[in-house]
Symmetry: C2
Subunit: 441 residues, 2 copies
């Protein structure tokens, strides 16, 4: 063939070698497993949607990042999150769904951002949401963190804390100090507290016209800390009777109570009054989740309560609550910082190695017996020397190799080699081999 | 909010209600399970690639179907199959992979075809391939149908037959009758035998200049049938000594022998000399798979052997063999023709129903105990009447409902209701309930 094309992928797109992909899939499967354990229903919306539908709400920064293009007469876009497709789906199928509608979706989304470390243009989001019609009780605000805790425990990536807050507390507080017309600005500034510190926040608050008494109140408010119950007590002790504020504090107290009923470990959550979340549609409970020993990773799982998911598509009011795990980003960070390490090079538990072609039939029947017993089994079928065959088993780090020679074939046995360093090799019956492999899985 | 956008999706895109999605995912998981059982490694290439890389080989019809667009300075395309990305991946990572490289990928691909029934613009392909360096022994041509048979058996959609052929037999035969320069045309025409019949094929063969003696030979050749061994005997009996033909017959005979060694059931495969496969890169064994009782669905799983996967990217010769299941299309056909029916409306095995909020804590602890024992459990948390709660359980067809009232909470018991028609309800200890649910899963 003629001129070669250099094989390469685009910047900002994650593609893994098999070893990392196996680990990635383990993460994916664990998250999915927990979502399903709580009864969330699967959904798989199209990757491509009509721009008119997908961008009903978008604008500004988001819209610039969209992969948007024409095909035939259609103006199309790739989904940039899983929330807008959910809104569209629920509005479309309202009469066919049962509410509360609990769904999960774990799919790729696309954002043409300027590529930078840890940012991807194509990445998996793993979302759960609970959608109600007209109302949705507060207890669902407690089920969501229960799921988060279960997910993060199953991922086994160290201690974590779900930080929670309620937008009404923030909104109400700022109304009480006469800053209602600047709530969005103030929230945006507070959101940066961890990034730019109290001085930075003060500077920005001055720039939007806050006087020093107000700034003092704001900084005092956001510095309320301590255990869950004392934060709630401190909030009540502020003596603010602004209605939204009072509602927010009550909601937060109720949610915390329910979280305890859900058995969420006290060590795994705390109130953090600085959390506002960037998106403007959150209206109540909001969450961020930090890995305690790796706070530099930022929030690995965020979300909250919104009053009206489907406003762009229907008049019916559909409140909901949900969270999202950015799995591609999380995984890439965990690998980069060596918090996790990809160790399994093979998907199979065993590599069956026929010493030569004369024992092929028996080797294949052994492999088949393993598979029927639920053991993932590969067979090495190249005609190479034993040294190269063992090298393949080593390189792909199969937990076990099963070596079949004349003797094994004649006597209906297998030589089972534990491939761990210093692992032993023993000649066993098929049943014994199956037992050993299963016992050590 | 103002003007509403009509919530809708594009024609030619599959989107399922939860009940169908649950069944779709069962299919997906079963296929993946079998692929992994044989040790195929997972891969997940980007959805978006550089057009220059992805379309190195494309042209004509394929290129017209591509979703291609510019973003910044990049000319981008959505993948239209999983084979080209595999070729690019193998060429890119040759030194990091171990060969034979066995990989599976089950991802969406995109083709902007004119929408028609059963055709999708976005659909899942479920591919396996085995790639060698320079050579790959014929025995892998037998492993592939072994996997297909295992997949289709696990899907439980009725009897099926893997039809196999070898392109060298076809090519060699046509060379032997002096039609080498028209092989592509002739193969294309023969490929339509089932669709347009012998008359149609004759007409088309005349139109490309075949005389009647040649046409007779062709039709005689493609009508060779019977069991596997007699077809091979008939091929040998033709007395053709054209080298490619002889090689092809020998390869086919060898592959059939290996398939028997793999334990492939004789009832699940046969030789079909009319199979050529459309794609021009197949060079040896080719497969198509039909559901015996639903031949109108066409081939549900096709593929074959190719000599040079990576020719557009590297000088290194990389032969391979693989197959693809078009899951979206298959699933849609199975549903449309009622061969399968989506019955499970819930992902969870149990719905826990607290009679009122006073038993919420106990209900949540019951749910938690179920989950810890591997039972997928949803809890109904809306404050509605019992009738509406049971209606929800019915509508989503949970296998079991667990009803918790004051008595149950006080005595640490649960009321377990089997939701099947005529199902009984009994008051049990938690351990008894867990046992019953697990026994009936």
């Amino acid at each position: 063939m003629g001129e070669k094309v250099t094989p390469r992928i685009l910047q900002g797109f994650m593609e893994l070698l098999p070893k990392e992909q196996i680990l990635f899939n383990e993460f994916y499967d664990k998250i999915r497993g927990v979502y399903e354990k709580y009864g969330f229903l699967p959904l798989d919306t199209p990757t491509i949607e009509l721009s008119e539908v997908l961008l009903a709400k978008a604008g500004g920064e988001t819209e610039k990042q969209i992969y948007r293009f024409a095909k035939g007469d259609n103006d199309l876009s790739l989904r940039f999150d899983l929330t807008v497709p959910l809104a569209r789906y629920v509005a479309m199928h309202e009469n066919e769904l049962s509410f509360p509608f609990k769904r999960y979706q774990m799919s790729k989304v696309f954002r043409g951002e300027r590529p930078q470390k840890g940012r991807f243009r194509e990445f998996y989001q793993c979302d759960i949401d609970v959608i109600g019609v007209e109302t949705l009780p507060l207890i669902y605000d407690a089920e969501i963190p229960a799921v988060i805790c279960d997910v993060l425990t199953s991922l086994n990536i160290g201690k974590f804390t779900v930080r929670l807050n309620n937008r009404k507390i923030l909104g109400g507080f700022f109304a009480s100090i006469g800053l209602s017309d600047k709530i969005t600005d103030v929230l945006r500034i507070i959101d940066k507290l961890e990034k730019i510190g109290a001085d930075g926040v003060t500077k920005e608050l001055i720039s939007i016209g806050a006087d020093s008494a107000t700034i003092e109140k704001i900084l005092g408010f956001v510095s309320i800390c301590g255990d869950t119950d004392s934060v709630i007590a401190s909030l009540k002790a502020l003596g603010i009777d602004e209605e939204t504020f009072v509602t927010g504090v009550n909601e937060l107290e109720t949610v915390v109570g329910y979280m305890r009923a859900f058995g969420v470990n006290e060590a795994n959550f705390k109130i953090d009054l600085t959390i506002a979340r960037g998106l403007d549609y959150y209206t109540g409970t909001v969450y961020e989740t930090m890995l305690d020993e790796h706070k530099n990773l930022g929030s690995v799982c965020s979300g909250g309560r919104y009053d009206n998911l489907t406003g762009y598509y229907t008049d019916k009011k559909m409140p909901g609550i949900g969270i999202s795990i950015g799995l591609t980003r999380l995984f890439s960070q965990l690998i980069d910082t060596k918090i996790v390490e990809a160790k399994k090079g093979s998907i199979a538990d065993v590599l069956v190695i026929p010493m030569d072609n004369s024992v092929l039939g028996y080797s294949l029947s052994v492999a088949s017996a393993f598979r029927n017993d639920g053991i993932k089994t590969d067979v090495y079928l190249l005609e190479k020397g034993m040294k190269q065959k063992m090298k393949y088993a080593d390189k792909l780090s199969f937990p076990y190799a099963v070596i079949i020679g004349d003797t094994e074939a004649k006597e209906n046995l297998v030589s089972l080699k534990n491939m761990k360093e210093g692992g032993t090799q023993s000649t066993l019956s098929l049943a014994e081999a199956i037992k050993e492999i299963k016992d050590n899985k």
